[in-house]
């Protein structure tokens, strides 16, 4: 249970971090909070030749409002983003991430890049239609980094796989605000508190001006290789049980030692109904008070 050797890089600014990652290429890995990476190293499931530690890049330690949403920098830890209350759905989801002590080190962007199919934060980014900003070395000194913005639906490419390529650093993520007259909820079932969920559903419901459901969307975790986003705005007209049924039918969970595929599908149905009901209730209350 000790990590394998690696070459350690501790850049002090973004340009040097990108240069180190560029040079390391496919053998390079970014160390941010380390709460997923270090267990993988300790168990020797990963053995990168180079580790680029971004913990000294204070310029990436930010969370704040931007037009239309909230931008979270690569070094913003779960606990900080949770306390900031910058985004209500993100705050709620963060309380489900592991344990408070893990959240003191783990980062929001790190959770996204880790892309665990049972993790909460990728589902939040996916259901909101957010994006991740990737930067790479410009190929020469004195030039600005090359930056691209990848939408959530393109970012998560498989279990523990993201669109971030060797040499690229995820510098921030953008979580769009909930639209007006919206509510959101996140429900999950885990064997033990703080574990990765067997299944979970993150729901967003938006009402029209008359108070009827305009949009109902869910992102499911633990039941597909990537967060599964299902739009059930149509089915929601027939009520939340029908909408939940549609979400359930869209999933293709796999069986493992923790739960059978049928049980996971069942959970998604139950959790989706609860999440939609809570999200709709919040949207209605918001409308009444707003």
């Amino acid at each position: 249970m000790k990590p394998p050797p690696f070459e350690y890089h501790s850049p002090r600014d973004l340009a040097s971090a990108l240069a180190a990652l560029d040079e390391a290429g496919a053998g390079g890995k970014v160390l941010a909070g380390g709460q997923s990476l270090i267990p993988l190293l300790n168990m020797r499931l990963a053995a990168p030749a180079h580790l680029v530690d971004i913990n000294r890049l204070a310029e990436l330690d930010h969370v704040g409002a931007e037009p239309g949403g909230v931008r979270v920098g690569a070094l913003a830890r779960h606990s900080r983003v949770e306390r900031s209350g910058a985004h209500p759905l993100l705050t709620r989801a963060l309380r489900l991430v592991a344990h408070p002590v893990i959240r003191n080190r783990g980062t929001v962007v790190g959770s996204l890049v880790h892309a665990d199919p049972a993790a909460e934060l990728p589902a939040v980014l996916a259901v909101l239609g957010g994006s991740v900003r990737l930067a790479r070395h410009p190929g020469g000194p004195g030039r600005e980094p090359l930056v691209r913005e990848v939408a959530a639906r393109d970012f998560f490419t498989g279990p523990l796989e993201s669109a971030a390529e060797p040499g690229e650093l995820a510098v921030s993520a953008f979580f769009p605000d909930l639209p007006p007259r919206s509510g959101a909820a996140f429900h999950e079932v885990a064997r033990r508190h703080g574990d990765y969920a067997l299944a979970g559903v993150c729901a967003v419901v938006t009402l029209d001006e008359a108070g009827a459901v305009a949009v109902a969307r869910a992102a499911c975790v633990g039941v597909a290789p990537v967060p599964l986003v299902v739009d059930v705005s149509e089915q929601a007209r027939a009520g939340w049980p029908a909408a939940a049924q549609a979400v359930r039918q869209a999933t293709e969970p796999e069986e493992d030692i923790h739960a059978s595929a049928d049980y996971r599908r069942h959970l998604v149905g139950v959790l989706a109904e609860r999440a939609f009901e809570q999200a709709a209730r919040e949207a209605t209350e918001g409308q009444r008070h707003g």
Binding site: M1, K2, P3, P4, P5, F6, E7, Y8, S10, L31, G34, Q35, I38, P39, L41, N42, M43, L51, D53, N55, S79, A98, H99, P100, V101, I102, N104, R105, H193, G194
Partner: protein, 162 residues
């Protein structure tokens, strides 16, 4: 590959500046135990599940088995050895003893560090807040009831003594 490169790491541990030359892959838990000889920090699972290795990094509880020593060079660390003051055991330590919040004691250093930080942030937690606060620490002896009692008792002691 040649001989593994070593890095000078200096930390302020329990108020004292300590340092050693270690490979980059040295976990903070092993740095404290092997390089500095502070064996109060216990190592259980080494993948962040059990919480035994919890220490305070600039006052904030973290898993020392999921932190590289080199990554926190220059920072301040408090281990279980640093919780007691000149007058003896801290209120949290006394409450654990008084309420029988430990049996074999293996998980205790992690609990003590976690609870010290929990009460510093929330001096009068509810039952739910206590349970959430210690949810990342496993104890196989007590069944947690006495640990929860000890947290409340520690809160009382801190309030009385402040």
């Amino acid at each position: 590959m040649g001989r593994e490169r070593r890095h000078q790491v200096s930390l302020v541990v329990n108020g004292v500046e300590r340092g050693a030359e270690v490979p980059a892959r040295r976990l903070l838990s092993d740095f404290l135990r092997h390089d500095l000889g502070l064996t109060g920090t216990h190592v259980g699972c080494e993948h962040g599940v059990c919480g035994c290795c919890t220490v305070l990094l600039d006052g904030e509880p973290v898993r020392s088995c999921l932190t590289f020593a080199v990554s926190v060079d220059g920072r301040a660390v408090t281990t279980v050895e640093g919780l007691a003051g000149p007058e003896g055991m801290s209120p949290v330590q006394r409450a654990f003893a008084e309420c029988h919040g430990l049996q074999c004691g293996f998980c205790t250093p992690g609990f003590l560090c976690t609870v010290t930080a929990l009460l510093a942030e929330n001096p009068a937690p509810t039952d739910e807040e206590v349970v959430e606060g210690i949810s990342g620490n496993l104890c196989r002896c007590t069944g947690y009831q006495n640990i929860v009692k000890a947290v409340h008792r520690a809160a009382e002691l801190i309030a009385e003594e402040s």
